[in-house]
Symmetry: none
Subunit: 193 residues, 4 copies
DNA sequence: TATGAATGAGGCTTCATTCAT
DNA sequence: AATGAATGAAGCCTCATTCAT
């Protein structure tokens, strides 16, 4: 069941640790200065490792990015699929999706430079998964039938932009309620503040 | 009527043209590879000009970006303010805002690489203007009273993400209807596709 | 008798003025940042003229430098020759040389960046003239016979280094007395402060 | 005994050698075209190293210069202090100072371009040390009491300008005698050539 | 003659990547 | 594996100089 075997020797351990060190440094650097302006050197400098060591683990900045994405996706996407699958009302479907996403964004650690955030929409990669889940929910009558592609985009846009508000200090629950109310009932149903 | 006098000589003309050439090249380059990874050289290479010429017009990539932003903001923001000010129903307020934004995004042309789009959200420096207009609309009873900050973020997120769908081929009117229906009435009021 | 005819028309006048403008700007710039690091652009920028205009008057920075040197030499060297020729005692020969040089350095205008000062030893170009005058003075019994080359160098070194002290605030007369006493009688004959 | 441990591996050795290579090249370049007009590229071109390598050792031309100065000062200044401290007569004080300085200048090798010489006067950062030693010598009765600042400047000027004569071929001992005689007894006491 | 925009050479520096140790 | 110095391509920018107006 384990995707990766546990490190089985001292050497293995170090190997795993170095990889993690690099990923952690990259996450930090990307968050601070953005993926595009980050350099491999920046990542190495955020590390106690030598420059050559980087290349023992990754071929390029892009590859680190992929790894980071995969790691995040590995955590977030299953969580999202689960809450959506378990939803028995539209309200649950929507609210739990937002709530899960918002908490994850917080958990990821706040810094959150705009550039990386944006790129991080790809992290979600779960765009397609969301559309599929929406379609499934329409099929099973949970959500009214509508253009699934547009709805997916709409929810994504709401989620990312509202997540920014949370990073700026808004409360998760408040934002979740707001987003859910907006999606379920539109302007008319919004909480009165 | 012209704010700036027209070029008054061959020389002035060339100067104006070169500036435009650079801006146009920059727009293209930013759209293709994103602002952050674009280099001044990339921009120069996308023109027929010599490298030094760039610096006769702009001090840096950032400055070109500003010029581009200002140019766009100068066009888009007044349009948005106007449609919002003239709106006499919530439906008009919402629909016209989306429609105006979507048409503008198309007009701008750009392939629209994700990275630039994001940065280009600053183009909307009109974020604040939107919030103010929303507050004003709430005051005059056009929109129901709610958290203006969150609503601003929500509309922004919807607008940018749905604009992507349009760039991918969706029809402006269809997306406008969808977005408007979602905002006004939530999931329940969405067009049946 | 005039080396240069006076400007005879408006155009001539402007021409002369522009030349002077450039020379003046160059003098300033050289004094501030040194000849070697000064650029033609720096000189032009210190002027109200256009870059192209510079080349109507001088081919390069070096040529401006030459012109500046010539101008200075035209003033200083004849003065020095004269005082040395008129000297009837060794004391006069030495003292008047120093005094003349020191006053000239002050007159030139204080700023006096080290780099330009040094280069400006070439301005003196009168190195050879000094040697010849020393030889002549030895011949006519004014100065004791000794190695004229070394004496020339010695006086030059004294003059330039002590001129620095003057620029730092020492009084011309005091420094002149000091230098003269040192050269005529050595340490033993120096003023007691 | 060594302040710095000797290079302990092939690698360390190369590193030390490269540093020396760069310093040597810089010394040469500065001597030939002067510090101010020298470029980092000039220095690199005078080595077999790649451009980037320069920056593994120094951040800028200025830093190389500092290193060069420090290296020289480290050698010259203690020597000068020592001979001045050990002097028991005025003649020794003066003669040994000149002699030491002249030999050092020869030892340094350099073609000795004027510009570099001047800047290199800073090498003598020992200017202050000289003044202090002069004051001390006046106090202990070795030198007659006089204006120490002017005397310092005078000796410095003599030393640098006469060093030029040596570089042009004059003999060290002859120049030393000349300078010493001039300082001790003035024109009257100069050797008859 | 004066102008000032265009040019491209060339200086400075950082970067990704290699490779000997 | 880990190291980190070497490399040279490539980015940034300023410069001297030309030349159309």
């Amino acid at each position: 069941m384990d995707a990766k075997p546990l490190p089985s020797s001292r050497r293995e351990l170090t190997k795993t640790q170095n990889r993690e060190t690099i990923l952690e440094a990259a996450r930090l650097v990307f968050a601070q200065i953005g993926f595009a302006s980050a350099t491999v050197r920046d990542i190495i400098r955020a590390t106690h490792l030598a420059s050559g060591t980087f290349y023992n683990y990754f071929k390029s900045k892009e590859q680190v990015y992929q790894a980071l994405r995969d790691e995040e996706a590995l955590v977030l996407r299953p969580r999202l699929r689960q809450v959506r699958a378990q939803a028995v009302t539209a309200e649950e479907f929507i609210a739990e999706s937002f709530r899960t996403f918002f908490w994850f964004e917080i958990e990821k650690g706040g810094a959150g430079n705009e550039r990386f955030r944006l790129d991080s929409r790809e992290v979600m990669a779960g765009f397609d998964e969301l559309r599929q889940d929406i379609l499934a929910a329409m099929t099973r009558g949970l959500l009214p039938v509508a253009d699934a592609g547009l709805l997916t985009a709409a929810l994504t846009g709401l989620a990312f932009e509202l997540a920014e508000e949370i990073k700026r200090g808004a409360e998760v629950e408040k934002v979740t309620s707001f987003a859910t109310a907006l999606v379920l009932g539109g302007l008319g149903g919004l909480p009165k503040t």
